[in-house]
Amino acid sequence: MSLTNLFLISSASLIFVGLYGVLTKKNIVRILLSLNIIETGINLLLVAFGYVEGGIAPIITSSESIANLTKMVDPVPQALVLTSIVIGLGTTAFALGLTINYYKNLGTVSISKEEEEKINE
């Protein structure tokens, strides 16, 4: 298989693994961890859509980069993903602050009422 297909398949499978984690787990910290895996997978997918076979990085370093201008990969998805990674960190920090407040008021970090979370070591 070609290199583009490999990148697309691995990013999509990362999204599905994270989606399974969000749907079936009951600990809030574990749900946030799976949400972060989904975000990493989506960023990989966006950059993989701009890949050109046999391409080079979009930076001009010398005179022969100007001769190879048509072989550069697409720079617009990279510019969008650059700020998306930093904002993913911001929303994760906010969600963890809400989790600590939830633990202080209710005494448990589980979203179901019957069972409490067993603390393993």
Binding site: P58, L69, Q78, A79, T83, I87, L98, N101
Partner: protein, 253 residues
């Protein structure tokens, strides 16, 4: 008293909406230069069409290394983030600011002290902090010539602050970081307003671009990236002060 106040507010709101609606109507049907809002817009008038059909590879183009260009930063991703789409980057900086502000409001206020650190961290952290700060400063100064930019530089600087915080070397307090963040944010918008006053459009690149490959090229791109790096670094550093309490001495338990 309540009835008078609400009547005044309602009348004021309706008058304000009528003024805005009248301005939009005048812009939509006026017959001056430019494109009307109610025209059937032709494909050749769109901005995307003009950019797609631009060609720099034919025989009489002067695009070469060490020469002038429309946007003379050597890193093409930087020239998209900080010149062609500067509006999107500014709004994302605002989103980051709001989420970190919400984090500070939501965290409970009882904090503990940090336990004492091991001797490896205590002896090697001053040397490591110097190297980390140097790497962070290099990365936003050369943002338009090599990979990097303002955002990873802010993350590296805040990791240096975290190392200093865990090993009890002297780091600035939380109030200093809040002042630096507020000052950088005000200066970013002040730069946009200065560009509006000089040349007529918000965030226009008003300094002259040099040659491709110099360190003083790219107009306002190095200035903008320095402000963004300081803002992101001080925001991510003030997150740690909400988890643990800073203090000079520690308790052994």
């Amino acid at each position: 008293m309540n009835k008078e106040k609400s009547l005044f507010t309602n009348v004021f709101a309706v008058a304000f909406l009528i003024i805005i609606g009248f301005s939009i109507y005048k812009v939509a049907v006026s017959k001056d230069n430019g494109i009307n809002l109610l025209d059937k817009n032709k494909v050749e008038n769109r901005v995307a069409y003009r950019y797609v059909n631009k060609n720099v590879l034919d025989e009489n183009s002067t695009y070469k290394f060490g020469g002038q260009a429309e946007d003379s930063a050597a890193n093409i991703v930087t020239s998209i983030v900080a010149d062609y789409r500067l509006f999107d980057t500014t709004l994302e900086v605002i989103v980051l600011f709001i989420s970190i502000m919400g984090f500070s409001m939501v965290m409970p206020k009882e904090k503990e002290l940090i336990k004492p650190s091991s001797s490896i961290i205590k002896h090697w952290s001053p040397i490591l902090i110097v190297f980390m700060v140097m790497t962070g400063f290099y990365m936003f100064i050369n943002g338009h010539l090599s990979p990097g930019g303002g955002f990873p530089a802010g993350a590296i600087l805040s990791t240096a602050v975290l190392l200093g915080f865990l090993s009890k070397t002297k780091v600035p307090s939380q109030k200093t970081f809040k002042y630096i963040e507020a000052l950088s944010g005000i200066l970013i918008f002040l730069m946009g307003i200065i560009a509006y006053v000089i040349n007529g459009s918000f965030f226009y690149n008003f300094l002259e671009g040099g040659r491709i490959g110099n360190i003083l090229s790219g107009g306002i791109i190095p200035i903008f990236y320095s402000l963004v790096a300081f803002k992101v670094a001080s925001e991510l550093s003030s997150v740690f002060y909400d988890f643990y309490q800073e203090g000079e001495d520690y308790e052994l338990n």
